[in-house]
Symmetry: C2
Subunit: 134 residues, 2 copies
């Protein structure tokens, strides 16, 4: 049976709080920052759990897994700021269809797809420009 622990709630809250994609370690750090005594392994376990249950999205960037709170059950993709992690959920029917069709055309079955866009959000763009041209 699944149990409700304050640790699980803390991770859920911190994840929702983060607003964008964050690593398990970063989340753990921010929890400790806030006075929690939660263990790193627990953060890892909880995040994998949330991702399995569809309460969080995950993606790999530069060798580490990032997680983000996510509306359960809906299929969508992300527009992610490389600098600050801010994330926008995007739906793209045309891409869905294109993926399905392309896979079928080549005889592929059980097709899944990874579609993500990385860039600099408006704010980070401005900051970067200001920094490079003083």
């Amino acid at each position: 049976m699944k149990r409700n622990t304050w640790q699980r709630e803390a991770v859920r809250a911190a994840l929702a709080d983060a607003g964008g994609f964050v690593s398990a370690q970063a989340l753990h750090a921010s929890l400790r920052e806030g006075g929690s005594t939660i263990a790193l392994a627990t953060v890892y376990r909880t995040l994998t759990g949330l991702a399995d249950e569809g309460e969080a999205d995950s993606l790999q960037q530069e060798g580490e897994l990032l997680y983000r709170a996510c509306t359960p059950g809906s299929h969508h993709h992300h527009l992610i700021c490389r600098r600050c992690g801010t994330t926008v959920e995007i739906e793209a029917q045309p891409v869905e269809e294109w993926a399905r069709r392309t896979a079928a055309e080549h005889g592929f079955t059980r097709a899944e797809h990874v579609v993500d866009i990385f860039g600099l959000c408006a704010r980070c763009t401005e900051l970067a420009d200001r920094a490079s041209r003083p």
Copy 2:
């Protein structure tokens, strides 16, 4: 200056030989298999080099980096068999445009995108079906 060593050539050849995405370790193993005495670190270094120079594509799957020989300079995406690693290069102008437009609409700049389709190729599909329904 960049030098030509037999190790670099061996990696290039083995990579071309593989035909699909392979891990550095797998490539190293198959090289030793073939009698080469090349070191693992060299395989890693060479692969990162090739990827930087655009001679190889790379992607992350389940915590490890996979590489594939790749026509240099061209932007494209992949249709990858989860089982055997067979890869098909695909171009998708509509997706390129959609990605560019979506990023711009949300004020994102310097946008790059990841678009890959994973599935079972025709052969692996057949094998899987045969195995599950004897």
